[in-house]
């Protein structure tokens, strides 16, 4: 589904992502792990179009998407979440979510001025999409809460719902369980698995190894911008290089 070929990003001579090649298969959960500063978020930014790669290629469903603008990438079906979730705190959750489906609508200024049929139809669709997404992440009952009042775990779910409202094929999740407690982490892992069961493909960055080891079908390990290993959780657990760079002996296979 997503193929990364020899991807490199230099920031003023500093190599943030160093000749990384890999592929993410449809209907799987792929995880990117690595120590802080390994280039994981930059890697996401390159795929999502926030940064333009210095060299290399990104193919999404066989189509070259290298260097496209983020909004363009989103319209092609790649959604993402961020480490910190930017919600508009003084609005309800449902109001925060409706804009998520905006990219699939076409109403412009003229539709707004004459209040066209198309606009009314599209606003209805956007609201339904938002509600469906909220239902999917299990928060339909708090759709009218103010976004500023909800818990960190709920924020993570809302962020996921927002990404989901764009009708993506592939979701890039940057620390979807960052800052939530272990019980809630299990719930979020279940949710991510549910996404895949519903035909989505997920690629995530996460530091919580227990979660990754149970959830991921495939793990890519980055260190200093370069890929040092790639494989199933079981293979990664055994990899001496990974243990050295990142996991430590705690997570090594017994």
């Amino acid at each position: 589904m997503l193929e990364i070929i020899d991807l490199t990003k230099l920031f003023f001579g500093l190599t943030a992502v160093d000749h990384v090649s890999t592929r993410f298969e449809r209907g799987q959960v792929s995880a990117i792990i690595g120590p802080n500063g390994a280039g994981k978020t930059t890697f996401f930014n390159l795929i999502a179009g926030t940064h333009r790669p210095s060299s290399g290629k990104i193919l999404f469903n066989g189509q070259d998407v290298t260097g496209l603008r983020p909004d363009h990438v989103a319209r092609l079906g790649i959604a993402r979440t961020f480490q910190t979730t930017h919600l508009f705190d003084n609005a309800t959750i449902i109001d925060n979510l409706i804009v998520g489906h905006r990219l699939r609508t076409h109403s412009g200024l003229w539709d707004v001025l004459v209040n066209s049929k198309r606009l009314q139809q599209e606003e209805k669709v956007c609201r339904e999409k938002a509600m469906d997404a909220l239902d999917f992440v299990g928060l339909a009952n708090i759709s009218h809460r103010m976004a500023g009042d909800i818990t960190q775990e709920e924020r993570k779910r809302v962020a996921l719902a927002l990404a989901l409202a764009t009708d993506p094929e592939l979701l890039l999740l940057d620390e979807p369980a960052g800052g939530v407690n272990p019980d809630e982490t299990v719930g979020l892992a279940t949710l991510i698995r549910k996404l895949v069961d519903h035909g989505k493909t997920v690629c995530l960055i996460e530091h919580k190894m227990d979660m990754i080891m149970r959830l991921a079908d495939k793990i890519v390990v980055l260190n200093n911008g370069g890929k040092i290993a790639e494989g199933t959780p079981a293979e990664i657990r055994r990899d001496p290089q990974v243990i050295d760079a990142y996991l430590g002996v705690d997570h090594a296979a017994i």
């Binding site: 909004d71 989103a74 961020f82 003084n90 804009v99 905006r102 109403s107 001025l113 009042d149 764009t166």
Partner: protein, 322 residues
Amino acid sequence: MKRLRGKTGWILLALAALLFPLFAHNNYLISVATQGFIMALAAIGLNLITGYTGQFNLAHGAFMAVGAYTVGILTVDYQVPFWIAFALAGVVTAILGFFIGLLSLRLKGHYFSIFTLCVSYIMFLLIEKWESLTHGTVGIMGIPVPAGVGPVQFGTPLSQYYLVLAFLALGVWIMSRIVNSLLGRSFMAVRNSDELAEALGIDLMRTKTLSFVLSVVYAGFAGALYAGQVRFLGPDLASEVVTFDLVMFVLVGGIGTLLGPLVGTGLVTWMTQGLQFLQDYRMVVFGPVLIALIIFLPDGIVGTWLNRRARRADTTRGKPNA
């Protein structure tokens, strides 16, 4: 129910504006109110780019001057009929806004504000120094009043009052359409986080430019109405003081709310008039009041009220379920 209550509020406000001349005992008050409405129209426009889209534009007053000067130059020097000049004021500000927007909106946050402040100053200098076009510091005198439409003439302060009120009502109505639509949601998504908005597939440059152009068109028409009401234009209209007045109106009333700019303009205009008797000392009263407002009501009067109402609606909704 909630919708009905919202509508009632607007109708009451419109009614109050319609009946105001009955209670104003002299033409001076009516003229002050008319100018207040013109400023409110410009403030509503500023609120779109600054309040709803999150781009703090500090050239808004200059665009108002562009609209005013378009009318002034065309009617006085070229004998163009008022309403044609009026329409062209919208076109000229839109075109100018498009190109300035395209250039300045590449910058973010404070850089955008500083850039637009510079643009504003350049426009002021152009108006002041380009004497063959703008009459320089002498200004443009003898601008005709808006031409009559059918049997209705706009020669008196009272008829001007209702003319400007009609445009203000139209402006508010169009703005409510915009901000309550998907388009408005795109603007607010950009304000909330441009990074997130872009990841949600919103074309940042296009969205911001559209908001900017719409916003300055409001300023352009406000300026055109100003030209027809005051009938004299000087370069001071393009000075940053006008912009900062508009910013103050928006902040006091409530940035990013529909009603805010109206309340802010009304309140500040009323306060400045009420404090006239203090002459130069009025700033001693005005300053601290303004500071207190910003400290204690950072979301403005309307913003604070709306937040409180939304929160209350949220808690009452929660109860039956809990």
